[in-house]
Symmetry: C2
């Protein structure tokens, strides 16, 4: 990071040059606001501290989350499918397998991804797990297995400064643990890399008349195009999306993994900042049954299970969207909806193709209603049932609820009102809707635009 | 194109702004130079004219190529797999099917893609075919079928100014046809859209002791990530890569299609400017047997066929690389070689993933030896045989033949000499080599970097 500024501004021999004046994008600060302490799930204790992975003195870089519920805590996770899985991904998967989905602690560091770090990397990740295990009261500890899942994010190919991290866990964390908004904020700040604001959300929900709570945090910014599967579907990846969701509902490990896998496909696996999949992407969910009176764990056959799964899905989507809003260089937040598809997978692949198209994303930045590029990105996906161009509709939908603007109707270009198009596209937020007219399945993706600032950030960052 | 400049420079309300000074990229002019008239294949007559699709008076926008060989002319083509295939793609496919691979003319316009233009678009494309058929001497014409293949490139969703095109074909083309370099140059200029130079190459080659000639032209610039198949594998697409290759060898239609399909997978289907696949991508090859004494057409069982196929492949790669060199905003020409893969398809998919990664491409622009991003892009592809991270090598290879720089050896990061890395990456041309250590297959891709200029061009172009 201390290397000299790359010479992209001065490497050419030509005599003439051009100047681009880039005004800063809209402020993202409004996406972070205090949350009432009552909204956070019971039975969790957490914090974020500065242990020294990051050089700047006051910047938080280590977070620990503990479930202190007397009831069993279930844990589930989805990990990156990248072939180059970082050490913390391999270790967390191992812990979850050995405990059959029981874990009650999460330790996370930012500043160093512990990826492509070989045997030393694995030893360091295990050391983080064991040091965090030791923070749990004796009566809550497992006998023969570990209780902690581990996540890392930051620079690839460097070893962790492990002694700083271990002394942070044992000496700084215990004295600063808490359960209020301030504690959540410390933890969420310790997740951040190129993020511009900490990402925290919380909500209450009811199941069978009883109230439960769910809260979560995540981080993103660049290398964001996750494709995460459950531990059983373990491939290989390098991660920059990290997130966790904590609830005080009581859910069996198997039901929790099933709900998370479903939710992740419709949330974190449906966002794109730059189309690049990381080696460390990890989403963890804990369910500790700490809500008053809760002892029996819900399983997949429970009639309330679909309600829980849908609640988790919509909450995960809310957290995932925060990552897009804070995407590197992003000035737009765009929902891409694909409807009328033969299958969810077809709709999802087309939404992904549109959301990652460099031509679509630069047009969004230029506020250009360029449906031709949207169509080209749609048509580049091959489906089981071929697309019939004469059934396809494309519509721009403003976020303020005013009249949508059709630009392509049954394959025929509309005579577009350019003033109205400009009005919709000049907003920070809107929706692009593509109806294939082939079936009844749909999927959504959330994406951002591609700006000069993205090029600047990534032409000069050693990840 | 006459719409006001988008407001990307002025839409934000914040008070502070930043300035990016972009010096122009290296001049591309050197990639176009005169070619000796002797190098062009015999028996072809061609030209480019201004008929009025483009508004500027002197800009060429209509090309016609005729095979005047007394021997039969074979034709083969690969078309985009995009679902939204433009009218000229549908019509050319129809002509080739009806003639079983016989055609002796090509008509091409730039300025309007004739894509998403419904029934009128098909009528217009057929009218171009018939008007060009009429230019052939009576004795060379087919009895019941057409002789012309058609290509278009430019803006999507607008109808062709067909009367201008038809009068261009019938009145301007006949008086300007020629066979020398100047005629080739006129035709290649009429192909151009955002290209900065006309793209023509020619070579001679020998088969069984006899000399033949091969020449070709193409155009690209943006929306370049072709995936083209033979007519039998016809999907749906919108094209911005157009090219044709003419030879005076005698090759049967079936052998010609087989050689072209093989060549396109290793050339035009192995380039990426921005990862976006067009609706009009088309590559056509004609073989007219006009070389002295040539009458018998080569078939696939001919022992010389592999030599011809490899010659066509290396020539197609040369033409394809010109498109990358002239990619929108490109300042670098980078060869991505993937070796040690289980299959060609595995190697090709990984090379594609690296070549389209926004993070890799911005790092190339920033001249940053960021092997972490290369690894993440490699690992995001799922293979039949899983990647073993501890067998992977990544090397930067300078174009000047000096010592390559290993950055990852058997999965372990090397201590990289940053000065040497900078030296290699500051050149306009170099190679990124990834060895998977899993097998013996390999594939190459050619890509460019992602620059401010790309964002500027595409934030302000209505395609």
């Amino acid at each position: 990071m201390n290397r000299p500024r790359p010479s992209i501004w001065r490497r050419f021999s030509s005599t003439s040059s051009s100047t681009i004046v880039v005004k800063p994008g809209p402020s993202k600060a409004r996406h972070h606001a205090p949350i009432s302490n009552d909204s956070f799930p019971h039975g969790y204790s957490l914090t974020g501290v500065h242990c020294g992975v990051k050089k700047k003195p006051s910047v938080l870089d280590l977070a620990v989350i503990l479930s202190t519920s007397p009831n069993p805590t279930s844990a589930a996770a989805c990990f990156t499918r990248n072939a180059f899985k970082a050490a913390p991904v391999l270790v967390s998967k191992d812990v979850l397998e050995k405990t059959s989905g029981r874990a009650r602690a999460i330790v996370t560091n930012s500043g160093c991804a512990n990826a492509v770090t070989g045997k030393q990397g694995l030893e360091d990740a295990w050391a983080m797990v064991k040091a965090t295990d030791a923070l749990l009261p004796k009566k809550l500890k497992s006998q023969d297995t570990n209780d902690t899942l581990v996540m890392s994010t930051g620079v690839i190919g460097q070893n962790l400064p492990i002694s700083k991290i271990l002394s942070g866990i044992s000496s700084l964390v215990p004295t600063s643990l808490g359960s209020d908004f301030a504690a959540w904020e410390r933890a969420a700040k310790a997740f951040m890399t190129t993020d511009t604001f900490p990402k925290i959300r919380a909500r209450t929900f009811t199941l069978g008349g009883q109230t439960f709570r769910m809260a979560g945090m995540d981080k993103g910014a660049g290398m964001i195009h996750p494709d995460m599967g459950p531990p059983s579907d373990f491939g290989q990846l390098h991660a920059t999306l990290l997130g966790c969701i904590l609830t005080d509902a009581a859910v069996s490990p198997k039901a929790l993994q099933s709900a998370l896998t479903y939710a992740v496909d419709r949330s974190f696996n449906s966002i794109s900042v730059d189309g690049d999949m990381s080696t460390n992407d990890t989403i963890i969910v804990l369910a500790n049954g700490a809500a008053a009176g809760e002892t029996k764990e819900m399983d997949e056959r429970d009639p309330l299970f679909p309600t829980f799964r849908d609640e988790l899905t919509s909450f995960a989507a809310e957290l995932a969207q925060l990552v897009v809003r804070d995407g590197e260089g992003a000035t737009k937040f765009v929902t891409v909806s694909v409807e009328g598809a033969p299958t969810f997978d077809d709709a999802h692949r087309i939404a992904s193709s549109i959301s990652t198209s460099a031509l679509v994303k630069t047009a969004l930045y230029g506020e250009d209603a360029n449906w031709g590029r949207i169509l080209a990105a749609t048509g580049s996906v091959s489906l089981s049932t071929p697309i019939d161009p004469y059934r396809v509709n494309v519509t721009f939908v403003p976020a303020d609820g005013s009249t949508p603007l059709p630009v392509l109707v049954r394959g025929e270009p509309e005579s577009v009102d350019e003033v109205r198009a400009k009005e919709i596209l000049s907003e920070e937020e809107f929706e692009v809707k593509v109806d294939l007219g082939l079936g009844s399945e749909s999927a959504q993706y959330w994406t951002c635009d591609f700006s000069y600032e993205y090029v600047r950030i990534n032409g000069d960052y050693r990840s």
